[in-house]
């Protein structure tokens, strides 16, 4: 039970710190992962023990993925009005992202585990985690790399898009959501409602698209 408590408390602490310092990079998932992971190492607790103890949290993961349909449905009017920009832009961006994350590890000769885990990084972490059963990637690695992809995206993409001259809020939002999913969307919301909405759509589409790509390749 203690590991469950520590996980909940570490996440809550992360949210408190994030609100205090107003940075999407001070991410509660990352903070909880580092804190709890550190404690596991310190106490030499096997990961299997920890996983068993936190099953009540993991049980809600699949219904939460199902709940991603809600923001997509809420934004249906925006999606219908701007489907060319959002759908084509989002699909192209996610496909390029998946292509690079699949091809580059092969070129670099990375381990098979890493190749499989990297290939789902443009999908939101819970989806990457569920896809790991199909790609046979180590689930923890697939989930972690997806989180890191979101963090890295939130860090570098806004400035990169400005550099490219991408100024329209819809275009910036869909670009962030298509490859940097949840954490990118949190960053997009800071730029405005429209950017955040476009990013939510991009994240939902990316979840569906990465799933399709994995299915086709398997």
């Amino acid at each position: 039970m203690i590991w469950l408590a520590l996980t909940l408390l570490a996440f809550a602490l992360g949210v408190v710190l994030q609100l205090r310092f107003r940075s999407p990079l001070l991410n509660p998932t990352l903070l909880a992962t580092v804190l709890v992971g550190g404690l596991l190492l310190l106490t030499q607790t096997p990961y299997e023990t920890y996983m068993q103890a936190t099953q009540p949290v993991s049980a809600f993961l699949a219904p939460a993925v199902v709940a991603l349909a809600v923001p997509l449905y809420r934004l249906r009017a925006l999606l219908a009005r701007q489907w060319r920009a959002l759908l084509l832009g989002g699909v192209a961006g996610t496909l390029v992202g998946v292509g690079v994350d699949t091809g580059l590890p092969r070129v670099l000769g990375l381990s098979l585990d890493a190749q499989r885990a990297l290939s789902t990084a443009p999908a939101t972490s819970p989806v990457a985690l569920q896809l790991a059963h199909i790609t046979q990637a180590p689930a923890a690695l697939a989930a972690t790399l997806a989180v890191l992809s979101g963090l890295l995206g939130a860090l570098v993409l806004p400035a990169f898009l400005t550099l490219l001259g991408v100024r329209h809020p819809l275009a910036r939002g869909i670009a962030l959501g298509a490859v940097a999913h949840g954490i990118g969307t949190a960053r997009a919301r800071e730029e405005g409602n429209l950017t955040g909405a476009a990013s939510s759509i991009g994240m939902g589409l990316a979840a569906l698209l990465v799933t399709l790509v994995v299915a086709v390749r398997s």
Binding site: L118, L129, L208
Partner: protein, 128 residues
């Protein structure tokens, strides 16, 4: 009768929503197993829920409190999985290469998405 669910106490509305969300998860998992689809059941459940909302078989206010609650703490739900990354600390320097791959995917993917979308946006006097 949309006010029927509004009359329910908030915790019960969450229970109702969770029941529906878990139901769609189960439905997705059942379909995947029966048809041998190479999809996670939850993603199929998400697509089914989207369809059911669009067809108005499921009303948004039935599931809103539960869905917003779950999505509000989405980052917590996969902490048990990401903590498993401690098993991969032995990869050491390879983490640098992994981050490099992620960075390349992000820049190229977002670049293509941003430039293409900027071209295809319909100007409409700014929807708010």
């Amino acid at each position: 009768m949309p006010s029927q669910t509004a009359a329910l106490p908030p915790p019960v509305r969450v229970v109702l929503g969770l029941g529906i969300l878990v139901g769609f998860t189960a439905l997705g998992e059942m379909l995947v197993r029966l048809l041998h689809w190479p999809f996670p059941g939850s993603v199929v459940g998400m697509a089914l829920l989207w369809a059911a909302l669009s067809l108005r078989w499921v009303r948004l206010h039935w599931i809103e409190p539960a869905a917003d609650g779950l999505l509000g703490i989405l980052g917590l739900l996969f902490v048990p999985a990401t903590v498993g990354a401690v098993q991969f600390l032995g990869a050491g320097a390879e983490w640098g290469l992994w981050l490099l791959v992620l960075l390349a995917g992000l820049l190229l993917g977002a670049g293509v998405a941003g430039l293409l979308a900027a071209r295809l946006v319909r100007e409409e006097g700014g929807p708010r």
